[in-house]
């Protein structure tokens, strides 16, 4: 039997025995970024299709969530930087090869648009808090006319934002769990699904709730398929990927991954949504909140498990 014993005279804080460089703020940001991407995508697409009067939760009520999510997400990202006062260096250059540079610039564009979007609905959203400034009313009217243009810009930007949350991780070849091309589409699908869940939570009409339940169901099926693909890809991969997969299947993250992400976060909400669409009485808040929790736990599992995986030599 071949045995191998490896010892290193090294014990650097946050590096050994396994990386602890990205902490909870990164997981929280990946979740909030995906959520905002989902919400802005649906707001954009409903507006472009001219259905904004029929689906007010998608374009109006849920859109309050996206600037809040983006602001909190950006604060979380900033909190996890260790050389904080130099963060402006991100905006002195564009580096095509660095996913984080792409993400920083997309966030710089999409965050103001998400605020402008809410301002364009200000008088409808907050009829009691009327601001009696003429320039504000003029600004709101101007934005109201630009809504369609903003929607056209939001669709590609939100897709880039959603994919970016996955690509950020998958670009690291040194972390075998992250290094698979399916992570981008998987995080985008998960982000769209959490966005749809938020719209279901805030929708007042049965028609809107059912439409987004159906969209969410399709996204959940897609997401489960992508997860199976991810695991199969790693199962057929090199030894480092096999070891990475075993963290999720049979290793220390099995309960979190299968229990909270797949069963409680995807399968049970899908069954509940389906029963609701068929006509049984199910409080829609339950599947919606389960999906949101599942999405958050998924980000935590991927960020923490990924940092354990590495090349062995």
């Amino acid at each position: 039997m071949q045995e191998e014993l490896f010892t290193s005279g090294r014990n650097i804080p946050h590096i050994d025995p396994s990386l602890e460089i990205w902490h909870w703020p990164i997981s929280v940001y990946l979740f909030l970024g995906g959520l905002a991407a989902g919400l802005l995508f649906f707001a954009g697409i409903v507006t472009v299709l001219g259905k904004d009067k029929e689906y007010p939760a998608a374009v109006k009520f849920a859109s309050i969530v996206s600037p809040i999510a983006l602001t909190l997400g950006l604060l979380a990202l900033f909190y996890d930087l260790t050389h904080k006062l130099y963060f402006w260096r991100l905006y002195t250059t564009i580096r095509i090869e660095s996913p984080m540079s792409w993400g920083a610039w997309v966030l710089l564009i999409i965050t103001p648009i998400s605020f402008l979007w809410v301002i364009s609905y200000y008088s409808e959203l907050f009829p009691k808090w009327k601001l009696n400034f003429k320039f504000f009313d003029d600004f709101e009217n101007f934005l109201k006319k630009q809504r369609k243009n903003m929607a056209i810009a939001l669709i590609p930007l939100s897709i880039i934002l959603g994919v970016y949350t996955g690509i950020l991780l998958s670009a690291f070849n040194a972390r075998p769990l992250w290094n698979n091309a399916i992570l981008g589409p998987l995080f985008l699908t998960s982000g769209l699904s959490t966005g749809a869940a938020t719209i279901i939570l805030l929708a007042k009409s049965k028609k809107e709730r059912h439409l987004f339940s159906k969209i969410d169901l399709a996204l959940i099926v897609l997401e489960l398929g992508l997860i199976v693909h991810m695991l199969m890809g790693m199962y057929a991969g090199s030894e480092v990927q096999l070891e990475a997969m075993q963290l999720l299947v049979g290793g220390e993250f099995t309960l979190m991954f299968f229990g909270f992400v797949i069963i409680l976060g995807l399968i049970i909400p899908a069954i509940l949504e389906l029963t609701e669409i068929i006509g049984y009485k199910v409080p829609v808040a339950i599947p919606a909140i389960l999906i949101l929790i599942g999405g958050l736990v998924f980000r935590f599992v991927m960020v923490e498990a990924g940092q354990i995986t590495r090349y062995l030599y």
Partner: protein
């Protein structure tokens, strides 16, 4: 000009002199290190084999840390040395995640720090601190573009390996075996 390091694992005794020399020369904070010693025992009794070696940043030709840096703080010089400019680094940690050798760390002051191949000593015509102190003279440093340099000759005449070549980084620290 392509700087590279060659380390003879058959001569290394794992004394950690290189580690201490580096910490002293580069003012590395206490508890951190830019180079380190690994001991690998291979095989099953009675035929076992011990390998000792000094590891550090591999100054890769295809450096993932340089590629993923969002600000350009991580950069590569024409002579192949990978450096970090402290006051361009935002401390996002992307380069640390991208390194298959875990050769980088976050300096207590916030920026990311790593082996520089003692760039400041090379400019003065001196060898890197770790190479200059090695008591068994198991470390060699030089220019791979020059076919007559000591490192080129060693790689021509001896068997060698690099660490995790499957990661595709084209590492430039070679180990004689």
């Amino acid at each position: 000009m392509r700087y590279a390091m060659v380390i003879d694992t058959l001569k290394c005794v794992g004394c950690s002199d290189c580690v201490v020399a580096c910490q002293t020369e580069n003012d590395v904070p206490v508890g951190y290190c830019r180079d380190w010693i690994t001991e690998t025992v291979n095989g099953a009794y009675p035929s076992i084999e011990l390998e000792l070696k000094s590891e550090r940043c591999n100054h890769c030709d295809n450096a993932p840390c340089v590629r993923c840096c969002p600000t350009g703080a991580s950069h590569q010089l024409d002579n192949g040395i990978v450096l970090v400019t402290g006051d361009e680094c935002i401390g996002c940690g992307a380069c640390i995640e991208s390194c298959p050798y875990d050769a980088r760390y976050q300096h207590p002051d916030g920026y990311v720090d790593k082996c520089t191949f003692c760039h400041h000593r090379l400019e003065k015509g001196q060898l890197p601190a770790c190479v200059s102190v090695c008591p068994t003279k198991c470390m060699y440093f030089g220019d791979l573009d020059n076919p007559n340099s000591e490192v080129s000759q060693l790689l021509k005449n001896r068997k060698y390996k690099t660490l995790a070549p499957e990661a595709g980084t084209k590492p430039q620290v070679y180990y004689l075996i």
